[in-house]
Symmetry: C2
Subunit: 211 residues, 2 copies
DNA sequence: CTTAAATTCTGAACAGTGTTAAGATATGCT
DNA sequence: AGCATATCTTAACACTGTTCAGAATTTAAG
């Protein structure tokens, strides 16, 4: 058989070949188009030229599809944060860049970002939930940078966990405000970035030890 | 006819008497029970002992009902913040109390809080949208306190708008993290309050001028 | 008081949804 | 080759939001 690159060569095949990924991509597009609330599994199937029941051979149910999307999104966020954390900068500058990158990720992937944080997706309990792990991995980028900053310079007052929670809260809060409040109607990428910079810089000020 | 207090005296009346409020209350309960995603207008009607079409005589559609709920919730939030802002404290203490109150409001009214921030509810444009107004009113409690703090003591570095955005972001971020992340499974009212205090105190540190 | 108008509710219906079950079609293995 | 398995379709179920015609009730007008 041909490699997985040739997806659109023969679209009328009974077996799609790579339906799972096609569904995921269609789902991302749909969510970004019509929003998260009207998001429909049947429409996803429609866009993949497939019957409404087909997705159930690749996902347990609609929520499982969304869950998969959320996990992928967390991984993309993790790499985005790691990329923002350039080695050439000081830990404090890295913190600022990570914070801004978080907000920009939310702004540029609003639908996926909304899927990432839904109480309904939080697993019942126990077992290493992949979604939870992916979320912790993303947080670790921020957390580790804080640790590094503390080691290099004794610059932080409170302990790393509190600092992390606080910085995470600011950037996450600004992100959701930008997406879910009336601001979303007038916000642009530039204004979002500007707000992110201002807010993050202020927040970092709060964790510096006064000299 | 009797006063509006006697709601449950004659439950079999064709005309309910105060269906609109009954629907709103049933909706609040339902949302807090089964969450925001599975929230169903038909179930609301069912709980009000009324046909599925009855709500349409009091609300344009499901979204209009949710919108009404969100507006009410914003007003409740506003009074909660005003109550937290006790006159006896200094403006800075007031800021701290307001921030904590915000987080606790979210924790105690999770379903309503989620209804308050939904991109879908943001009106198309123009005209004084009551939801937007209610949101601004709530923000004003925080904003005015910042202004007062700046007047009493020249204690803030950045300007009030930036400070407000930053503080709003922290408390809003922590709120949604507490509600929508895996933390929600283990969080209690006490742990939430503790986190709120820590995070808000750190954030306020960031806006104090260094002496 | 009578009667017309307006309000509030019901019942039945429509399209659309998530999901399942039974069967058709293709793929992979031996 | 043939058999098991994975993948897809068709049909159906219960449920949803919403509309519409009409019944029950309240309000207002004569």
């Amino acid at each position: 058989m041909s490699s997985s690159i040739a997806i659109q060569t023969k679209p009328e095949r009974y077996h799609h070949g790579d339906l799972k990924n096609t569904l995921l991509e269609a789902a991302r597009e749909l969510a970004n188009e019509i929003g998260v609330d009207n998001f429909t599994l049947r429409e996803v199937a429609r866009r993949a030229n497939v019957s409404p029941a087909a997705p159930y051979h690749h996902f347990l149910d609609k929520q499982d599809l969304i869950r998969t999307l959320a996990i992928e999104a967390f991984r993309k966020l993790t790499t985005a944060l790691e990329q923002a954390k350039q080695k050439k900068h000081s830990p404090l500058e890295q913190l600022e860049h990570i914070g801004i990158a978080y907000v920009m990720f939310a702004y540029e992937h609003h639908a996926e970002f909304r899927f990432m944080f839904r109480r309904e997706l939080c697993a019942a309990a126990g077992e290493p939930d992949p979604l939870e792990v992916a979320g912790i991995d993303a947080q670790s980028v921020l957390y580790n940078t804080i640790l590094e900053a503390q080691v290099v310079k004794k610059i932080m007052t409170s302990d790393a966990k509190n600092i992390s929670l606080m910085l995470w809260s600011v950037v996450h809060g600004l992100s959701t405000i930008l997406l879910e409040s009336p601001i979303s109607k007038t916000a642009t990428a530039e204004s979002a970035k500007k707000m992110a910079r201002i807010v993050v810089q202020q927040a970092i000020q709060g964790i510096l030890s006064k000299e």
